[in-house]
């Protein structure tokens, strides 16, 4: 887990700002195609920033569920509160102002449409006369997760401190907990699926390609920016019997692309379940959890009650939301009155 003696307290998580576009485009370019919600498309990224600014500015009573929030992780260079009380070193050593990553929240998945997933199910067939019983894995196209709040667009630069990834991912959970009226209590995150050595998805090749006759990126391009639901609507609506799929596709079900390992593990440690749903295009895992059951949320307290350990803490207000890592004994006055905190290192029993 995160070594506390190098706690990078100078990293600041904040809402994306209009002048982050260049840096955000740089992050998107580095992220590659695995993160579908973070494409290197300057116009699209500009729209994402606008949407996020609008989302943060929307009052609770005016929210509709279409809000999409985007946070960035920035090296502030200030080492805010560093070292106070703990005697530990702090600071990332990174150039001030540099963006290290981004992460988002979509208030309601599938807003205005459907959010498709395959749900793993098992059916048992039995014949007394033949003396046989067989359990068969099936994939059911479903809209179960429509309306859930969706964690999106997680990307952190390679080599960033481990604690930075914790801050970037888990600060979103504190934001969700602070503003429950704006979100679902069911939280979902999609992760990229396995690709073969040629960069092709065995899952898509076995399923989507049969109905589109093309690679998934081509299908997406052909859809002309329509939602994934548009493509999903053209897929078989009946359950898929997994044993009928090629071995490579079966092996790809629920398998994670290496690029997703870090954010995936963070959410699994939070208590997300990744066994029930998969992405309908590449078979990657879709993690799901109830907000109040997530470890960070369950352990969240006013910072003063957790002061003996390194924490992840944030402001309580939507406007000017900030979150950062806080060393033991640091009151984090820069985060306003009564910052909400959760231990950086979660106890196993939380």
């Amino acid at each position: 887990m995160t070594p506390t003696h190098t706690l990078p307290t100078d990293l600041l998580l904040r809402p994306v700002a209009a002048d982050d576009l260049d840096a955000l485009q740089g992050l998107a370019a580095a992220a590659g195609p695995g993160i579908g919600s973070l494409r290197e498309d300057r116009i699209g990224l500009g729209r994402r920033i606008e949407e996020s600014l609008q989302a943060f500015a929307t009052e609770d009573e005016d929210t509709s569920g279409e809000e999409r929030y985007l946070f960035v992780l920035q090296a502030s260079g200030s080492g805010s509160g560093s070292g106070s009380g703990s005697g530990s070193e702090s600071g990332s050593g990174l150039a001030p102002g540099r963006l290290l990553g981004c992460a988002g929240i979509a208030a309601r998945s599938g807003y205005g449409s459907r959010f498709y997933s395959y749900r793993n199910e098992f059916i048992v067939a039995s014949s007394a006369a033949l003396g046989l019983t067989q359990r068969t894995h099936t994939l059911h196209l479903c809209h179960d997760l429509t309306g859930s709040s969706l964690l999106t667009s997680f990307y952190i630069v390679p080599g960033a401190p481990a604690a930075a990834a914790q801050l970037l991912s888990r600060a979103r959970l504190l934001f969700l907990a602070l503003h429950p009226q704006r979100f679902s209590d069911r939280i979902v995150a999609e992760f990229p699926g396995l690709l073969d050595a040629d960069g092709a998805s065995p899952f898509w090749d076995a399923i989507g390609r049969r109905f589109f006759g093309m690679d998934y990126p081509q299908a997406e391009a052909l859809a002309g920016g329509r939602s994934k639901a548009f493509i999903a609507h053209l897929m078989p609506q009946s359950p898929l019997y997994v044993p009928l799929l090629p071995e490579a596709a079966q092996s790809a079900i629920g398998q994670l692309h290496p690029d997703g390992e870090l954010p995936f593990q963070i959410l699994i440690d939070e208590g997300f379940d990744a066994d029930s749903y998969i992405d309908i295009f590449d078979g990657g895992p879709t993690a799901e959890g109830r907000l109040q059951a997530l470890a960070s949320v369950r352990a969240a307290r006013p910072l003063a009650q957790l002061a003996a350990q390194p924490n992840l803490a944030c402001t309580r207000h939507r406007a000017g939301f900030r979150a950062r890592l806080v060393a033991a004994g640091d009151a984090a006055a820069d985060l306003g009155p009564q910052p909400l905190a959760t231990p950086l290192q979660l106890p196993e029993s939380v």
């Binding site: 067939a125 099936t138 006759g213 009946s238 019997y241 009928l244 799929l245």
Partner: protein, 240 residues
């Protein structure tokens, strides 16, 4: 040349013939004046009364998005009991010694259809199942491409099970197979090609059934994908 055989109705199953698919009904024998068996079939006025009769319906679904130029017609398989209540011909057998097997098959079918046309049955159709295509090793691509995936690995030899359970094997097998729609595109190419394809051993019967007015019923046997053919039951009245 006038056929040198005649048709005899009996309730006794000829030992040479494959078993009737269900009990009841009657047998027709084509035999020479000296009693030599040339062919048989079994007629049943209403099938599915003694056991569940399963078949796959071969259907179509269209995946279409005109604005994207996408238009795909997909073949589907749906397990069901669609033939239940229809009349049936089974026990199809032609002796290798028959000099004119086509004539024997034609005569048996004509006689059977005439009897079924008069039968007291709610059936609208007369159904005939033919065994599915097999490769030179005697293996069914349909079994390999679909059926075996829904059985515990190595648990069942199709030929042994069919021998042990007789015609009821397909009903038992139906309990193991998927109830939901299957897209044929998920089957192996060989299995797709076997859908509704008759075994080479039964092409004489296939041709005779077609001459008698039977047509593809867009259903297949669940164990090997062999075709189900159907003719309107009352059509037999017009043939007399």
């Amino acid at each position: 040349m006038k056929p040198t055989f005649h048709i005899v109705q009996t309730t006794v199953a000829p030992p040479e013939a494959p078993p009737a698919h269900e009990p009841g009904g009657w047998w027709l024998r084509a035999q020479t004046p000296d009693g030599r068996l040339l062919g048989t079939l079994h007629g049943l006025p209403e099938q599915g009364r003694s056991r569940a009769r399963c078949s796959f319906h071969f259907g179509r679904v269209v995946h279409s998005a005109p604005e994207l130029g996408l238009y795909q017609v997909q073949t589907t398989l749906q397990l069901g009991h669609d033939a239940t209540g229809e009349a049936e011909l089974s026990g199809l057998f032609l002796s290798a010694a028959a000099e004119a097997p086509e004539a024997v098959a034609d005569a048996l079918l004509q006689a059977a259809l005439a009897r079924l046309a008069d039968a007291d049955t709610p059936a609208s159709w007369v159904i005939a199942e033919l065994p599915g295509w097999r490769d030179t090793a005697g293996c069914s691509p349909f079994w390999d491409g679909l059926v075996r995936h829904f059985l515990p690995p190595g648990s069942l030899d199709a030929a042994d099970a069919a021998q042990r359970h007789g015609p009821a094997f397909s009903s038992h097998l139906g309990e193991m197979l998927p109830r939901e729609l299957i897209h044929a595109a998920f089957l192996s190419p060989a299995a797709q090609q076997a859908l509704g394809r008759c075994a080479d051993s039964h092409t004489t019967w296939l041709a005779a059934l077609q001459r008698a007015g039977f047509a593809d019923w867009r259903h297949g046997r669940i164990e090997d994908g062999g075709p189900l053919l159907a003719a309107p039951r009352r059509a037999g009245e017009r043939r007399r």
